[in-house]
């Protein structure tokens, strides 16, 4: 199982997020990348929100890829629509799509597939639980969609792996909500979990054969907590 870091990026700086509502400055990219390397993370998910309170741009994405980072970067939230721009951000290893996940047909998928291959494409489903139902958040359309088997089957057909992002637990270190996997049939070996992941989530994730877990803010709240646990 891979251990990754998930962090919020906006206009040249990284932020901590709490419940996806509150944002606190974390640090400059160089120090964050150095620290991620120091913690031996397998990959970094850079969440680059498009909607208020923070927004993104191509220049901002470009800036992050200019830093030398030995850990593969996954960019989410600012998937570039201009082909020249894709190749300009060559420091990005994988792309994680949110809004495109909810479109039945889109040429961009095919173009990305053709240029980078399926392994470079991830889907990201930010979800919340309301009245015993799990809803996926489609940020660009400000919509909530119920997570059903049809959606899951379609996404796993398109993408190499899917990130399930528990938004209401993000940054709270309260544990990932594994109950989401009970009502639907999901290939867990192609599933990544993020949002509230703490050390207690690790044994369950290993037991379920989850592909990767992403820690958020707590990665920066201690020297060796994750390191000690994993080794």
């Amino acid at each position: 199982m891979r251990i990754g870091l998930a962090t919020i990026y906006h206009q040249g700086n990284f932020f901590q997020s709490f419940e996806g509502k509150y944002f606190k400055y974390l640090g400059k990219p160089r120090n964050i990348f150095d620290s991620a390397e120091y913690h031996n993370f397998s990959e970094i998910l850079v969440i680059h929100p498009k909607n208020p309170p923070i927004s993104s741009s191509y220049a901002s994405t470009k800036k992050i890829t200019d830093f030398f980072c030995a850990i593969p970067l996954i960019i989410s939230g600012d998937i570039l629509e201009n082909k020249a721009q894709w190749f300009d951000t060559s420091g990005v290893e994988r792309y994680a799509f949110n809004s495109l996940c909810f479109e039945e047909e889109n040429d961009l998928h095919d173009q990305y597939l053709k240029d980078f291959g399926r392994q470079a494409l991830l889907g990201i489903i930010p979800f919340v639980k309301e009245e015993n139902h799990y809803y996926a958040l489609d940020y660009s359309r400000f919509k909530k969609r119920i997570i059903n088997q049809n959606l899951i089957d379609r996404l796993f057909h398109i993408y190499d792996e899917i990130i399930f992002h528990d938004i209401s637990s993000h940054g709270l270190n309260c544990g990932f909500d594994f109950n989401i996997f009970e009502s639907i049939n999901i290939p867990l070996n192609r599933t990544i979990i993020c949002g509230g992941v703490n050390l207690n989530s690790i044994p369950t994730a290993k037991k379920l054969n989850i592909a990767a877990v992403y820690f958020e803010n707590i990665s920066f709240h201690s020297e060796t907590l994750i390191y000690d646990h994993m080794r």
């Binding site: 932020f15 400055y25 150095d34 620290s35 920066f220 709240h221 020297e223 907590l225 000690d228």
Partner: protein, 388 residues
């Protein structure tokens, strides 16, 4: 520019975030400050702290407590002794202490009768580090901080001591950067981001440091695999921190506050010959002087009215006066022409503040932090190099 409607702050070196609450902007520091009233929350947090400390006991000492002879150290040491911890007080000499600072440090270890270690780095090597830091980064405290963190963490590891306990977490108290629930611990990232101003070890030693390679380890933060089982924690994460009120209590333990010209807080950093002089001038050059933090802290605790505080902050330069020559003459031992060159070429933006008196006095605002029996330093640079 967003301004906090409660305290009036707009920016901070640790960076702030702002939330809109009932149509008003609230900074992250004020947001976090609201937790201080929640007594139930803090009772629980203190219980967590005691459990954490009892969970991991050392063979001889339970915790290393880094001190600098400051009022805050008195509170931290008293608190930890009340938890029945066997502590080892560690003092890393930055050669910036005056007679008051040394006296306060000796009084601390005598009054509380604790075991202590004093570490003085080689003065010549230290001076070279300070000169390099000043030249490259306009910062004279950076070498001290690098040595301090390297030394206390290594010492805890060597002596098998499970905790290194600091008092206040500044980014949390002054900028609300972390939640109290984050269980924040000291880490290489934290130290680099908040103590070293994002200056990496490699950057520091990069060019221009005339120091033998064998001495570089003096400032290199230990590796994580080496630091396994050493936990750096902050008391302010577990206790409802009120720096000013706590510091005033140190008077009961015979602490000497020091009269200052550039702040009204005679307790914090009392006993330092440079903190409110050259160091503060460099702070003013790079951002804001320390009194900026003191004013905002007092506004948040409703001990200073916002109007008075904001007036001082808006007209800050009128309240400041710095005498930096003793640092160049008595510590660096530079020539007069060297001093003049530095002021002319490196301090051009703030050289108007190098003066005998300021037009206005910041300590005229009158707070209980200006303790009437505060001392005046007689011996600014006490450079003990042996026999401590």
């Amino acid at each position: 520019m967003i301004i906090c409607d409660k305290c009036g702050i707009s920016s901070h070196p640790f960076n702030l975030s702002f939330h809109k609450h009932d149509g008003k902007f609230l900074c992250s520091a004020c947001d976090l400050h609201n937790y201080k009233k929640d007594t139930k929350f803090w009772t629980e947090r203190e219980k967590n702290l005691i459990n954490l400390l009892n969970d991991k006991k050392g063979k001889r000492y339970d915790a290393v407590v880094p001190v600098r002879g400051d009022a805050e150290d008195y509170y931290v040491v008293e608190k930890l002794i009340s938890y029945k911890l066997n502590i080892l007080v560690v003092f890393v000499n930055n050669f910036f202490l005056n007679d008051i600072g040394w006296r306060n440090f000796h009084n601390l270890i005598t009054y509380f009768d604790c075991d202590s270690v004093t570490y003085s780095p080689n003065l010549h090597s230290y001076k070279e580090l300070v000169v390099t830091s000043l030249r490259k980064f306009k910062n004279i405290y950076l070498p001290y901080k690098m040595i301090l963190h390297q030394y206390v963490m290594s010492l805890a590891k060597e002596k098998d001591i499970p905790f290194v306990i600091f008092g206040q977490c500044q980014p949390q108290e002054f900028a609300g950067k972390f939640s109290y629930r984050d269980n924040l611990r000291l880490s290489n990232w934290w130290v680099t981001e908040h103590e070293y101003n994002n200056i990496l070890y490699d950057e520091f030693i990069g060019t221009g440091l005339h120091l033998d390679k064998t001495k570089w380890d003096l400032i290199r933060y230990p590796n994580k695999s080496y630091l396994k089982k050493v936990n750096g924690i902050f008391l302010s994460n577990y206790l409802p921190w009120d720096q000013a009120s706590q510091n005033i209590q140190s008077i009961q333990h015979d602490f000497f506050p020091q009269q200052q010209r550039n702040t009204f807080d005679y307790f914090e950093n009392a006993g330092s010959s440079v903190y409110y002089q050259f160091h503060d001038l460099l702070r003013r050059l790079n951002f804001q002087p320390k009194v900026h933090d003191h004013i905002l802290r007092e506004i948040r605790f409703n001990r200073l009215d916002k109007k008075t505080g904001m007036h001082i902050l808006k007209n800050m330069d009128q309240y400041l006066a710095y005498n930096i020559k003793p640092f160049f003459k008595n510590f660096l031992q530079t020539t007069d022409s060297g001093y003049r060159w530095f002021v002319k070429n490196r301090l051009m933006d703030v050289k108007h503040l190098i003066r005998e008196e300021s037009p206005k006095k910041v300590n005229q605002i009158g707070t209980r932090l200006m303790y009437e029996d505060s001392k005046i330093s007689q011996d600014e640079f006490v450079k003990y190099t042996k026999g401590i």
